[in-house]
């Protein structure tokens, strides 16, 4: 919490330096993100892929793996869900929508599993492989949207699919998009799997000490491969919901960057799946309110990226916060420093 407050304070300094009114900027930011039903809907829609992306990173962290591939996993999830969404006709909603979501999730899982399997079999750095897979996914989905799946109606030349069938659209109840409900369920499911099941214990064991886990009889390779698949599934689901619930189609280049924000979210949440929800909501609110802030007070919306970086800095370096707040070191305080395991996650 202190980190968030400090980040916002420093952001306020930046706004003031630029000669804008801090109070009107921040009140516009909050009103734009939670002022009325529409604003709330926007915030929740923005928060949904952030929560999924954050979970995709946080889950992999638990096994000591750094998943920078959320972007690619999200893209294939979004593209394939849209493909099923517009391609199937005359199917009832109870079949069509789950099927589209499932295909998107499966595409993401397969994409994530590539990195996990390679890591397990050949020791290839998952960081390198997932970054490369992001570029491959970008190209692949661009091609899908520009060639076989392109919307040929009218004079459309944009690389995008047709709109998905009504039977594949994710409903919105008033200000509450159903996709966000799924995100919350996914967060609790992740927590349950990690903390209350044998599989989750094995995942955390591999993350804590790979060699000890192997001696304890855990198949480290299987755990790494399946962890990356689960991470990919989460990101893919986030992409699928973006296509079926927000954009209504897949369009090349629209979701770029969305997958990387998951890293920020996961770190803000200190890789705790439940804490990913408020972290996603916070960033979602800032993104939803940024447009109104710019409109009413003239502050460039990119300020929220700066604020995010500052918050992340304070979360990452509790020493700075202690120093700024003049907190005394308590020798008995538990070490709350956030670590992701050894370097590249060897």
């Amino acid at each position: 919490m202190a980190s968030v407050v400090l980040g916002l304070l420093l952001g306020a300094v930046l706004i003031a330096v630029q000669g804008h009114s801090v109070s009107s900027a921040y009140s516009a930011l909050v009103l734009g993100g939670a002022g009325d039903a529409d604003a709330l809907l926007r915030t929740l829609q923005k928060a949904t892929p952030l929560v999924f992306g954050g979970l995709a990173v946080a889950f992999a962290f638990k096994a000591g793996l750094f998943n920078i591939g959320g972007q690619g996993q999200l893209l294939v999830g979004a593209a394939f869900a849209a493909g099923v969404g517009f391609g199937l006709e005359g199917v009832p909603l109870v079949v069509h929508l789950p099927l589209a979501l499932l295909v998107g999730a499966a595409a993401g899982a397969a994409w994530g599993a590539i990195a996990g399997v390679l890591k397990a079999t050949s020791g290839a750095h998952e960081v390198i492989v997932t970054i490369m897979l992001n570029f491959v996914a970008g190209n692949l989905t661009d091609w899908l949207a520009a060639n076989p799946w392109q919307d040929r109606s009218g004079s459309n030349i944009i690389a995008r699919t047709p709109l998905v069938q009504p039977s594949a659209e994710i409903p919105t109840w008033g200000w509450l998009p159903a996709g966000f409900v799924l995100a919350v369920i996914a967060a609790f499911a992740c927590w349950f799997i990690l903390e209350r099941t044998t599989y989750g214990f094995e995942v955390r064991s591999v993350g804590a000490n790979r060699h000890a886990a192997r001696y304890a009889g855990i198949s480290v390779g299987c755990i790494m491969a399946s962890t990356m698949a689960v991470a990919g599934l989460l990101a893919g689901l986030g992409g699928a919901i973006e296509s079926l619930g927000v954009d209504g189609r897949f369009e090349a280049g629209v979701n770029v960057g969305l997958g990387f924000e998951g890293i920020t979210i996961a770190l803000l949440a200190r890789t705790n799946p439940i804490a990913v929800i408020p972290a996603g909501l916070l960033v979602g609110l800032m993104e939803a309110g940024a447009a109104k802030m710019q409109f009413e007070s003239g502050v460039a919306p990119e300020i929220i990226d700066v604020i995010q970086a500052l918050i992340l800095l304070f979360v990452a370096a509790p020493l700075i916060v202690r120093w700024l707040l003049r907190l005394r070191d308590r020798p008995d305080a538990p070490d709350r420093r956030l670590t992701l395991g050894a370097g590249w996650g060897r």
């Binding site: 020791g123 290839a124 970054i131 992001n134 692949l140 700066v306 995010q308 970086a309 370096a317 370097g343």
Partner: protein, 349 residues
């Protein structure tokens, strides 16, 4: 030491010593010979296009090798730097802005390198001084750079002068095959080439290089023989940032000639792949960078002429798919070992 693919490296590995030819080295040299033969063949077949592809290769490789060297100095000291992307972006921004305001490209380069040094110092302060998790520290740099450069980005600003132009190096530029690609280049490319060779010697042969390896492998042991681990890590990560800063200046003032939002476009991450690919040696990294640059240049060339009926997106995938295959294969045939203390903060006891 590994000499990978790339025509100009056949000579480099020969200089480093012929004694003790490991199978690995034999394969590298054999690969280099085959590559040179191929390039020569293509040159005889279509000189203009081969020259264009080689030129594009060197152009794309320069940025990557600068980033890779920044990463490798950090990693050899035990500090992971995934903030290269942010260092590129931030220094490209200041290099462009200063060059545009002052009208001097040189001042722009100075600003870019200074920004890189400052970013390097920030990374060092976070990961060495405050012992923040290094992956997070790098992520902070990346996000901060994207936010700050977008926030202060002035859409209307232009460089107001031509970007760095090529300088012919006398008769060398008239050599067949490599003449234009290597010896008719803008100044920062030459500087980068010199830095590759100098750093290679320094890292593998000098006292500083040995000490750097020592604090990355076993900082405790290094400290017992009198090396100030914290201090050397601070210096190394900060100075390495200057290399990324030069990369940013190269990107804005020599390669592109302007600044656009998020213009580094993932190449800071690609530089990490190049670094690991090149086994954390500058010459190895340059070979890897040339390979990446080659696929990038090939992609551009494919798009220009419609000789092959392949969708652009599939050609665009090529470098990344090849990287995955090579990284996986390299893992299968003999695993690479990271510096032993990589990623672990060092605390003086």
């Amino acid at each position: 030491m590994t000499a990978g693919a790339g025509p100009d490296l056949a000579t480099a590995s020969g200089v480093a010593g012929v004694r003790g030819w490991s199978p690995q080295r034999m394969w590298s040299v054999a690969g280099a010979v085959v590559l040179v033969a191929c390039v020569w063949g293509f040159y005889a077949w279509d000189g203009a296009q081969t020259t264009a592809v080689l030129g594009g290769t060197v152009r794309a490789a320069t940025l990557l090798v600068l980033g890779a060297m920044c990463g490798m100095i950090g990693e050899r000291s035990g500090i992971v730097n995934i903030g290269i992307e942010g260092q590129f972006l931030m220094s490209a921004f200041t290099a462009f802005t200063v060059a545009s305001m002052s009208g001097s490209l040189f001042l722009g380069v100075v600003a870019g390198v200074s920004t890189g040094l400052a970013m390097g110092w920030m990374l060092a302060a976070m990961s060495v001084g405050l012992r923040t998790d290094q992956i997070i520290a790098g992520t902070v740099l990346n996000i901060a750079a994207l936010g700050l450069t977008s926030f202060f980005y002035d859409r209307g600003r232009s460089l107001g002068q031509p970007k760095y132009q090529s300088i012919e190096l006398g008769p060398l530029a008239d050599l067949p095959v490599v003449g234009t690609a290597l010896f008719n280049r803008p100044p920062l490319t030459y500087l980068a080439l010199v830095l590759v060779v100098v750093l290679h010697v320094l890292l593998l042969r000098s006292v500083w290089g040995m000490r750097t390896t020592a604090i990355g492998e076993h900082p405790g042991a290094a400290a017992t023989v009198g090396i100030d681990v914290i201090r050397l890590r601070y210096w190394n990560v900060t100075l390495a940032g200057g290399l990324a800063g030069l990369g940013g200046a190269y990107l804005a003032l020599e390669s592109v000639g302007t600044f656009t939002r998020a213009m580094s476009g993932g190449r800071g991450f690609l530089a990490l792949a190049v670094m690991i690919f090149g086994r954390r040696t500058p010459l190895g990294a340059y070979a890897a960078a040339l390979f990446f640059g080659f696929t990038t240049a090939l992609q551009g060339q494919f798009q220009l002429n419609d000789t092959f009926d392949i969708p652009a997106q599939f050609v665009g995938m090529l470098p990344f798919v090849v990287t995955i295959i090579v990284v996986a294969a390299a893992g299968l045939f003999g695993r690479m070992r990271d510096p032993a203390a990589l990623g672990q903060p060092y605390e003086v006891r």
